[in-house]
């Protein structure tokens, strides 16, 4: 095994009703995706504050992905619509500040889409790995 | 590189005592089990838990105690809340001593002393009281008036009853704010009690407690004929550095952490009313 192989840190926020269940389904179906992805369960994607995303980057995350129910399917009827607006604006701002836009992503994953969850995570990890370490939103104090 | 006052010493909590429902007394020593540093009665120290914060507390044990230091701490902010859930063996950091002590060896020497405290206000006075009790022959008569909301809120109750009250020449006057079952002592607010007790003015008085108690006790003492030059108190303000540099604990030109916390009332009169 290669020792120096770069492994990104990925934080995935998943809503309890769709995406977290989708992640569970991926597990039940033994669909593998890289261990670098760690899921944080939130009631709804709309619970995710931009501050959480910045916090993750500060603490050393290389990529942050937000998963919620498909628009229209929100357990709380409208939460993900707000998420969509908030993240569209936030990501656009990060891009505007010159931060790689590939480091952040929003994906809608339903409870039935275990395969999509795994595929999304595989793809995201691949993308972030290609980008390399997060340098533009890092807090050196938190790095080893 | 020379010593830096901002860098604390390591302390270990070796005993936690629940004094009242919201006050605990912590006994702190160095990791080697020794007393961390010497202090004078009335001085303070900064305790801190890294990541939680640092705060200033009176050293409540007497300087004559050579084994350890004690801090009586009321739960109110985030450092104190954290400390209240700490257990024996917990490390803390300690900086000090800070500030000026009570003038126990000159001004107080040979005099009758009156200590008036309310609630957790006994904490800063405990070190002076025990110091004066330790050197009992250096001082005249000692009166202690102490009051709290209820019997349960009296700090160091056992020590007061079993040790202070039994000393010769020491008179303890306890009071609580409201009648309570199992309490046959005095009931009423401290300032009134002080007036009722009607002390002679040939003594030094030391006050510590909530601002409202201080205000009315001082008025009471004045009506008994005390001069402001005879009355001392200790102040508490937001502190950070403890060495008079960070700029926040000043009252006028005086820094509480450096020039205080002990002030005489005539000195306070010279300062603006911003404490």
């Amino acid at each position: 095994m290669q020792v120096n192989e770069y492994k990104p840190k990925i934080v995935a926020f998943c809503c309890n009703w769709c995406s977290y269940a989708g992640a569970d389904l991926a597990g039940s179906n033994r669909l593998s995706y890289p261990a670098e992805v760690k899921v944080i369960r939130v009631p709804c994607s709309c619970r995710v504050n931009p501050m959480f995303i910045l916090r993750a980057f500060q603490r050393g995350a290389d990529g942050v992905i937000l998963c919620g129910c498909h628009p229209g399917d929100c357990h709380y009827t409208s939460g993900n619509y707000y998420t969509r607006r908030r993240m569209a604006l936030l990501f656009s701002m990060l891009d505007y500040l010159g931060i790689e836009k590939e480091r952040t992503r929003v994906e809608w994953v339903s409870a039935a889409e275990g395969a999509k969850f795994a595929a999304t995570m595989n793809d995201f990890v691949q993308t972030v790995t290609a980008l390399g370490e997060n340098k533009r939103l890092e807090d050196l104090r938190c790095k080893k | 590189m020379f010593n830096e006052t901002l860098i604390p010493k390591l302390g270990v909590i070796i005993d936690v005592r629940q004094d009242t429902p919201d006050i605990k007394t912590f006994r702190v020593v160095s990791p080697e089990g020794k007393k961390l540093f010497e202090h004078r009665p009335g001085q303070c120290a900064m305790l801190s838990i890294p990541g939680v914060g640092e705060a200033m507390f009176s050293i409540t044990s007497s300087p004559t105690n050579t084994e350890y230091m004690e801090f009586s701490i009321k739960k109110c902010g985030c450092v104190t809340t954290w400390l209240h859930q700490a257990e024996v063996g917990q490390n803390v950091t300690v900086r000090g001593p800070s500030g000026n002590p009570f003038p126990v060896d000159d001004v107080f020497a040979g005099k009758d002393l009156l200590f008036v405290a309310g609630g957790v206000g006994l904490a800063p006075l405990r070190s002076v009281i025990n110091y004066c009790r330790h050197y009992r022959d250096r001082y005249g008569k000692i009166d202690i008036v102490y009051g709290s909301r209820s019997k349960d809120d009296l700090l160091d109750y056992q020590e007061i009853i079993n040790e202070w009250a039994t000393d010769s020449g020491v008179n303890v006057h306890l009071t609580i704010d409201r009648e309570q079952e199992g309490w046959d002592g005095h009931v009423g607010f401290v300032p009134n009690y002080v007036k009722e007790l009607g002390f002679d003015t040939n003594k030094i008085a030391v006050l510590c407690g909530p601002p409202i108690m201080i205000k009315f006790t001082l008025e009471g003492l004045r009506s008994l004929g005390f001069e402001k030059t005879q009355v001392y108190t200790t102040l508490e303000l937001r502190m950070k550095c403890g060495v008079g540099k960070c700029g926040r604990c000043n009252v006028g030109s005086k820094y509480v952490c450096k020039d205080g916390p002990v002030f005489r009332f005539d000195e306070l009169d010279e300062l603006p009313n911003e404490y």
Partner: protein, 664 residues
């Protein structure tokens, strides 16, 4: 500082196969707050749970982390375990090391490392957990049904039959709604009145049901289990409890030219009227816009003839305040106005009518006593043209009509065509359609009978124009299958007007803080899983106010809504989800951002007094969360810029601690 116990589950080999559970338990021992760490084959088993209970007692634990399967699987189990040992159930967190770790990773080292991180993350969260207690609120055991159509009637009957009191508020003088105006029902062709009126009588006679007819809901306050509703009882100038419904006044009233809205204005009624013979309550009502006595103080005939002394010209609108535990919206539908469809000459010719008007023409109690006669000249029509989708499926003409399919038109048009041909075999009946949609039991068979047995001419195509020419109506349309233009000289044109929610629904939704879609249909709490509930707790949806429906669908939804209401009212107390939003009033500045994004209307504002500097009192507007309504999505927490709004159980600090633990 918490005293946390960590319990790592093997799940047989499900977890232990790719995660070194012993190592995980060992590694997590050193995390902040952890005082006990154990592993066991099946934590969810009786023995495993016992292990946890014992540890709670033995180590005086204040928090628990179970590293096991998904919280969606056993979070409840372990919460109950904790509760059984005297620990607050919300001091339990699950680290999902099965579905999100052991099952997806093959490498033992990798799986173990990740499991440790997931465990650490859960520990970081528990360190900031606080015991939570679900709020409780009492339930007023009475329901309000708004709308007295078939949906409202069915819902009310079902609730009342379960033993709960129900009030129906109906804005018209009688309940019955649209169904009372309908002649026959598809696909069975039984008489609408015959199946509806017995139900109306049931309602009237039911001891648990109270009808507020000729009334409207004007204010709703409160929340699930505890609504305070103000009902306006419009003055009908007839004492409802005195009137016997004999109908004498309606015959003697000299004001004869009052358009009869029950027959859609196709005939007249008197200024004092009973809408139809089977009306419930069967009480007369005076139309104040036409009554001479009320307008000019001259007449008083009805009072004179009324033997029961029921007439009261001085009656005023009354306001009644009632408490309810649940509210059902059953406000129904209306055909859209044909004003914008002048190409069909609706306003130019009396012989262009809507399908609902056609129902009245065919109805024995209608303006023509059931004879099919042209409204213009009372002659028998020979050529009838039915136009489908008038204002429905108007994707490109949204400003005129509706984008959605009105769902019922295909079937009732088939019914109309069939009944026409059945009663009047001398007629030619044409139906212009875009598609014929017949997904329902016996629906397609019904439609085919119309075509095959009754010889109705179905033409796939649109009608471009209807122009009156003399006595005839020239219908120009296209036949898409034959690919040719058609011109039909018709005697009567019937428009299948799209249906839309009743106009009263929008203000009602605002009062109920229930959400609506862009078409003003009520939104359901979940389109698939909670179709009869509104997102606002305690508000339920019955019938066409939620979307176009036919009778069977309406009745089944009405029953479903009733069962939800019964479920709610059968509880003495409502236990909430304790993971709800909470506003820190010291930080809130009352900007209303949170309120705007709350899908449940759980946030209200109050002016509260705060201590200001120098012993002053400041009054500030602050947000308050009604825990009984809040569902805990957390949308408000992000809308709030100051962070005054936080979510219990998923607090910002907790989530950030999880982030930190993962990234560490």
């Amino acid at each position: 500082m918490q005293r946390i116990g960590v319990f790592v589950c093997w799940c047989g080999s499900n977890i232990a196969g790719t995660v070194d559970v012993v190592k995980v338990a060992e590694a997590l021992k050193n995390e902040p707050g952890v005082v006990h760490s154990a592993n066991y084959q099946y934590m969810c088993s009786q023995a495993g749970q016992e292990l946890i209970k014992q540890a709670i007692k033995e180590h005086n634990l204040t928090g628990i982390v179970v590293c096991s399967c998904s919280p969606r699987m056993h979070e409840q189990t372990f919460r109950k375990t904790a509760a059984a040992a005297g620990l607050n159930p919300y001091m339990v967190e699950i680290a999902n090391i099965r579905e999100q770790c052991s099952w997806i990773h093959k490498d033992m080292a990798e799986g173990t490392e990740k499991a440790i991180v997931l465990g650490r993350t859960a520990i970081a969260k528990v360190n900031l957990n606080a015991p939570l207690t679900p709020g409780e609120s009492p339930v007023t055991k009475r329901a309000l049904v708004i709308g007295g159509g078939i949906a409202g009637i069915q819902t009310a009957l079902d609730i009342a039959d379960a033993g709960f009191e129900v009030d129906i508020v109906e804005k018209k003088p009688t309940i019955g709604g649209k169904m009372a105006q309908i002649d026959k029902t598809f696909p069975t062709l039984d008489c609408a009145a015959c199946i509806l009126t017995p139900k109306m009588v049931d309602v009237a006679q039911h001891e648990k049901i109270k009808i507020y007819s000729y009334s409207e809901v004007v204010d709703v306050k409160g929340f699930v289990g505890n609504f305070d509703v103000t009902i306006k009882r419009k003055a009908r100038y007839v004492k409802e409890d005195v009137c016997t419904g004999c109908g004498l006044c309606t015959e003697k009233c000299p004001m004869k030219k009052v358009p009869n809205d029950f027959n859609l204005g196709m005939d007249n009624k008197r200024a004092i009227y009973i809408p139809f013979a089977q009306a419930v309550p069967k009480v007369a009502t005076i139309d104040a816009d036409y009554c001479n006595m009320l307008k000019n103080g001259k007449c008083g005939v009805c009072a004179k003839v009324c033997t029961a002394n029921a007439i009261d010209y001085t009656q005023k609108d009354e306001f009644v305040e009632e408490k309810y535990g649940a509210i059902v919206a059953a406000t129904g539908f209306n055909p859209i106005s044909m004003d914008k469809f002048d190409e069909y000459a609706y306003s130019q010719s009396k012989d262009v009518i809507t399908s609902l008007e056609f129902e009245r023409l065919m109805n024995a109690a209608g303006p023509t006593a059931g004879k099919l006669l042209r409204p213009s000249d009372g002659k028998h029509p020979h050529t009838l043209v039915f136009v489908q989708c008038v204002g429905s499926r108007c994707a490109s003409c949204a400003e005129k009509g509706k984008e959605y399919c009105s769902k019922i038109c295909c079937m009732y048009t088939a019914k109309h065509a069939m009944l026409t041909r059945d009663k009047y075999p001398d007629t030619d009946v044409y139906v212009f359609y875009i598609d014929v949609r017949t997904p329902g039991k016996q629906f397609d068979e019904f439609y085919r009978r119309a075509v095959e047995e009754y010889g109705v001419h179905y033409i796939k195509g649109m009608v471009g124009k209807v122009s009156p020419e003399g006595e005839k109506l020239i219908v120009q349309g296209s036949d898409l299958i034959a690919n040719k233009q058609l011109k039909i000289e018709a005697d009567l044109v019937v428009l299948a007007a799209a249906i839309e929610p009743d106009k009263s629904a929008r203000p009602l939704a605002t009062m109920l803080t229930a959400s609506m879609d862009t078409n003003d249909f009520f939104t359901e709490a979940h389109p698939k899983l909670r179709p009869v509930e509104s997102p606002t707790a305690g508000v339920f949806l019955s019938g066409a106010c939620q979307g176009p429906k036919d009778f069977p669908e309406t009745v089944s939804q009405a029953g479903a809504a009733a069962s939800k209401v019964i479920g709610l009212l059968s509880k003495d107390k409502l236990t909430g989800n304790p993971c709800v939003a909470h506003s820190d009033e010291m930080m809130c500045n009352g900007c209303s951002s949170c309120e705007k994004v709350c899908p449940y209307g759980a946030i209200t504002y109050a002016d509260k007094e705060f201590r200001g500097p120098n012993r002053t009192t400041l009054i500030r507007r602050v947000a308050q969360v009604n825990e009984a309504i809040c569902q805990g999505c957390g949308c408000c927490t992000v809308a709030c810029p100051s962070g005054a709004m936080d979510l219990k159980g998923f607090a910002s600090k907790q989530i950030m601690a999880e982030v930190d633990a993962i990234c560490k």
